[in-house]
C-alpha cells in the first residue's frame, strides 16, 4: 500500500511511531493492529503522548501518562531533562514534570524534582507554572523545595495559587495521612503567607492540624480576627483540630468568639470546632450557645445529638452529624 493513500492519522503514526522498527510493514485501518513490545525512548513516548491528546479514550491517556512516569527511572535522565527544558506546551510540561518528580520519589536524587519546582516558580507562562505545580501533587516536593509553597500561593496567577493550595491539601491527606507535623506546618505557613483569602481559607479548612507546632497554632489564632469571613471560618475550623496542649485555649477563644461573631457561616464553623475539641464534654457549652443565634439552633441541636452517641472518632461523629442533618 502506498503511504500517500493512507488516512492522515495513520501517516502521522507511521512517521513518528515511538517504537516503529525500521522496515515495519505499513499499517492498514482495516487490518487488525499487531502490537509488538519494544524498548521505550523519551522521544517516542513524547510523540505518543502528543498524539494521544487527540484520543477519545481517557484510559489511553491515563496509560500514556503512567507509562512515562513508570519509565522515568529507566530512561536517560539527560534526555528527560532536555525534553522538559525545551517543552513549552503546558500539558506536555506537566507530563514531563511528573516523570522528573517520579525519579526523585523513587530515590534517584532531588535534582530532577527541584527542576520542576524551579519551573513552577519561574516560568513566564502562568499555564506552565500551574502545570508544573500540578505535577508536584502527591509527591515528596514539600520535603525538598524550601519555601516554594509560600511563594506559589502568592503567585500573580490565581490558577497557580489554587493549584498550590490543592497540592498542600492533598499531600496533607494522602501522602502524610494528616499525621505528619512538618507537612501540616508547611501548609499553615503557606495559608498565612498567601495574599489570596480564598486560598488561605481553602488550605486551613481542609488540612489536619492535629500535629501542628505551637507556632503554627499561634498563626491560626491570628487569623480568627481576619476581615474576611471565609478566612475566619477556616481558622476556627482549623482550631477545632489542634493538638491536646492547644485545646483549652482554642476552646475559650471559640466560645467567646461565637457571641461576638455575626457571620452565620463562621458561627456554624465555631459550633463544629467546639464539638471537635470537646466531643461529648462539649455538649454543655453547645447547650449554652444554642439560643444565641436562632438561625443555628437546629445546627447546635444536631451536634448535641451526634455527640450524645458517644462515638469516639471525629470521622464517625461527622458522619453521624450528617445523618442527623439528613433526618431533619
Amino acid at each position: 500500500m502506498n503511504r500517500r493513500h493512507l488516512p492522515v492519522w495513520v501517516s502521522l503514526w507511521l512517521s513518528s511511531s515511538p517504537c516503529l522498527a525500521a522496515g515495519a510493514p505499513d499499517a492498514s485501518v482495516s487490518r487488525a493492529p499487531e502490537p509488538r513490545a519494544q524498548a521505550c525512548s523519551v522521544e517516542g513516548l513524547m510523540d505518543s503522548i502528543r498524539r494521544g491528546l487527540q484520543s477519545g479514550s481517557p484510559a489511553y491517556q491515563r496509560y500514556l501518562r503512567e507509562l512515562l512516569k513508570e519509565s522515568a527511572v529507566t530512561l536517560p535522565e539527560a534526555a528527560l531533562r532536555e525534553a522538559f527544558e525545551r517543552e513549552t506546551a503546558p500539558v506536555m510540561v506537566e507530563h514531563l514534570a511528573a516523570a522528573l518528580a517520579a525519579r526523585t520519589d523513587r530515590g534517584e536524587g532531588v535534582e530532577t524534582l527541584r527542576l520542576v519546582a524551579k519551573r513552577a516558580l519561574g516560568d513566564a507562562d502562568p499555564a506552565v507554572r500551574a502545570a508544573a505545580t500540578r505535577a508536584l501533587r502527591r509527591t515528596s516536593a514539600e520535603e525538598h523545595t524550601g519555601d516554594m509553597y509560600q511563594r506559589l500561593v502568592r503567585d500573580a496567577s490565581p490558577e497557580v495559587r489554587a493549584e498550590a493550595a490543592t497540592n498542600l491539601i492533598e499531600d496533607n491527606q494522602y501522602v502524610y495521612a494528616g499525621a505528619h507535623g512538618p507537612a501540616s506546618d508547611v501548609a499553615v505557613a503557606a495559608a498565612v503567607a498567601s495574599s489570596d483569602p480564598a486560598v488561605t481559607a481553602r488550605i486551613l479548612g481542609n488540612i489536619s492540624t492535629a500535629p501542628i507546632s505551637a507556632e503554627s497554632a499561634q498563626r491560626i489564632h491570628a487569623l480568627v480576627d481576619s476581615d474576611d469571613a471565609r478566612v475566619r471560618a477556616a481558622a476556627v475550623t482549623a482550631l477545632g483540630g489542634v493538638p491536646a496542649a492547644q485545646m483549652e485555649r482554642a476552646r475559650q477563644v471559640l466560645a467567646t468568639r461565637y457571641r461576638d461573631e455575626t457571620d452565620v457561616g463562621v458561627r456554624s464553623a465555631i459550633l463544629q470546632g467546639l464539638a471537635r475539641l470537646g466531643f461529648s464534654s462539649a455538649i454543655p457549652e453547645l447547650r449554652r450557645l444554642r439560643g444565641v443565634d436562632p438561625r443555628l439552633t437546629g445546627e447546635a441541636d444536631a451536634w448535641i445529638q451526634a455527640l450524645s452517641t458517644g462515638l469516639q472518632e471525629w470521622s464517625l461523629l461527622l458522619r453521624e452529624k450528617q445523618r442527623v442533618g439528613q433526618a431533619h
Binding site: R36, A37, D105, R106, T139, M247, S315
Partner: protein, 409 residues
C-alpha cells in the same frame, strides 16, 4: 486450636494511583493502616483515600495487577549483569518499561467485537501497565450498554486466567453493570455450579460495585457463601456482600440487612476463611451496631474458634448504640480469653467503644493480665492530656503493636 493462615498482606495503594514517595508509604501504613489493623495484616480502611481502597485478603485480579507492577518496579533490583566489569555499579535498579508499537491504532479502532482478537498479544504479555489499560479501555467500550456487558460476561465462562481478570474487572467497573439484567446475569453465572469455584469467585466479584442488593439477592449470596460446596466462591460472595454494604451505607442506607447476612455467614460457615471474611469486612464500613447485632457479635466472641475471628468481632463491637453493654461484654470475655492478641483487641477496642470512660474496665483487665499494665498507663496518660479522638489516642501510643499481633503467623 487451629489457626487461620493469615491472609496475604495488602499491597499498599491501588494500581491507578501515582507512585508515592517512600515516606508516604511509611505514613500511610504507620499512621492510618496501623489504627484499624486487627492483628492481622489486612486492615480495611478507606480513610484518607479518595479512590476505592483495595480490599484484599487473597489474590484477586486487582491485587495481582498491583503486585505485578510492584514486581516490575523492583524485580531487577538484585540482578547483576554478568558482562559488566563493575557489576554492582551497573546493576539495574528497575526493570525497563515496555512500549507497544501499533497501540494508538488499537486504541482508535478497537470495539467489543474485535477486543479479544486484537488484544490477544497484549493480554499474553507480562506488562501490568498495558493490562491495566486494556481493562480500562474495555470498561469504556462496554459503556452503559447491557448487550455488550452480557457479551463480555459470556467470555468469562471459558477465558484463560489472564484474559479472565481483565474481562471481569472491566465488567465490574462499567456503567452497564448497574443494569438489572446485567447484575442478574452476573449473579446467575457466579452461582452456577457448572463453573469451577475460582471462576465463580471472579465472576461474583464483578458485583462488588453494585449500589445495593435486593433482599432476594442478599439471601441468595448469604446461602451460597455459607454452603460448604461453594469453596472459594463462597468467600467471594461474602466479600461482595460486604463491599455492597459499604457502597450502600455510604449513601446513608441501613447496614442492618447486610450485617445480618454477614453475621449468618460468620456464625454458620464451616470454613474459617469464609467466616473470617464475613466477620472482618464490616470494620471497613464501620456501622454503628444495633442491639441485635451487638448480641450476635457478642456470641461470636465466645463461640468462634479462630482468634482472628474473635478479634474481628471485638473490632465491630467497638461501634454500637450501647457502649456500656459492649464494655461489659468485653470485660466478661477478657478473663476466659487465652489468646493475647484477642485480649489486646478487647483492651484497645474498649477505648474505641467508650473513650476515657473505658479506663476503669481497662485497669481491671490490666490487673487480670499484667502484660497490659504498661499499655494501660499509656492510655491513661494520653486521655489525661486531653486527647479524646480514638484515632489520635491511637497515634499517640508509643507502640501500636505491643504484643506482636500485626504480623503473627
Amino acid at each position: 486450636m487451629p489457626r487461620v493462615p493469615p491472609p496475604r498482606p495488602s499491597t499498599p495503594g491501588d494500581t491507578t494511583s501515582p507512585p508515592a514517595p517512600t515516606k508516604a508509604w511509611r505514613w500511610r501504613l504507620g499512621a492510618v493502616g496501623g489504627l484499624l489493623l486487627l492483628g492481622v495484616a489486612w486492615g480495611l480502611w478507606p480513610a484518607a483515600r479518595e479512590e476505592e481502597a483495595p480490599v484484599v485478603g487473597a489474590p484477586r485480579p486487582e491485587q495481582e495487577a498491583s503486585t505485578e507492577r510492584e514486581a516490575a518496579r523492583h524485580g531487577a533490583g538484585q540482578e547483576v549483569s554478568a558482562e559488566s566489569g563493575d557489576a554492582l555499579a551497573a546493576a539495574p535498579r528497575y526493570d525497563p518499561t515496555t512500549c507497544w508499537s501499533d497501540l494508538a491504532r488499537f486504541d482508535e479502532g478497537v470495539r467489543v467485537d474485535t477486543f479479544r482478537e486484537w488484544a490477544a498479544p497484549l493480554l499474553a504479555s507480562r506488562d501490568p501497565l498495558v493490562r491495566m489499560y486494556l481493562k480500562e479501555r474495555l470498561t469504556e467500550l462496554i459503556g452503559g450498554d447491557a448487550g455488550r456487558a452480557l457479551e463480555v460476561l459470556s467470555w468469562t465462562k471459558e477465558a484463560g486466567p489472564k484474559e479472565f481478570k481483565v474481562f471481569a474487572m472491566a465488567l465490574k467497573d462499567s456503567e452497564a453493570v448497574h443494569r438489572p439484567e446485567v447484575a442478574r446475569g452476573i449473579l446467575d453465572l457466579g452461582l452456577d455450579t457448572a463453573l469451577e469455584p475460582e471462576r465463580r469467585a471472579g465472576v461474583l466479584s464483578a458485583l462488588d460495585t453494585q449500589r445495593r442488593l435486593s433482599a432476594e439477592t442478599l439471601t441468595r449470596l448469604t446461602d451460597f457463601a455459607k454452603d460448604p460446596a461453594s469453596g472459594e466462591a463462597g468467600w467471594a460472595a461474602a466479600r461482595t456482600l460486604a463491599r455492597v454494604m459499604r457502597n450502600d451505607h455510604a449513601r446513608a442506607a441501613d447496614a442492618a440487612p447486610y450485617l445480618d447476612g454477614l453475621l449468618t455467614i460468620g456464625q454458620e460457615s464451616l470454613d474459617e476463611h469464609v467466616r473470617y471474611m464475613a466477620l472482618s469486612t464490616p470494620m471497613e464500613t464501620a456501622p454503628v451496631l444495633d442491639a441485635r447485632a451487638v448480641g450476635r457479635y457478642a456470641q461470636v466472641l465466645t463461640t468462634e474458634g479462630s482468634p482472628d475471628g474473635r478479634g474481628a468481632a471485638a473490632h465491630n463491637l467497638a461501634l454500637s448504640e450501647d457502649p456500656r453493654r459492649v464494655l461489659e461484654t468485653f470485660e466478661r470475655a477478657f478473663g476466659p480469653e487465652q489468646d493475647v492478641c484477642v485480649r489486646w483487641a478487647l483492651f484497645r477496642f474498649s477505648a474505641r467503644a467508650a473513650g476515657r470512660d473505658a479506663l476503669p474496665v481497662m485497669a481491671r483487665m490490666a490487673l487480670t493480665d499484667p502484660r497490659f499494665q504498661t499499655t494501660y498507663q499509656d492510655f491513661e496518660r494520653i486521655y489525661a492530656s486531653g486527647v479524646m479522638d480514638f484515632e489520635r489516642v491511637w497515634l499517640s501510643l508509643p507502640d501500636q503493636d505491643p504484643y506482636g499481633c500485626l504480623h503473627r503467623d
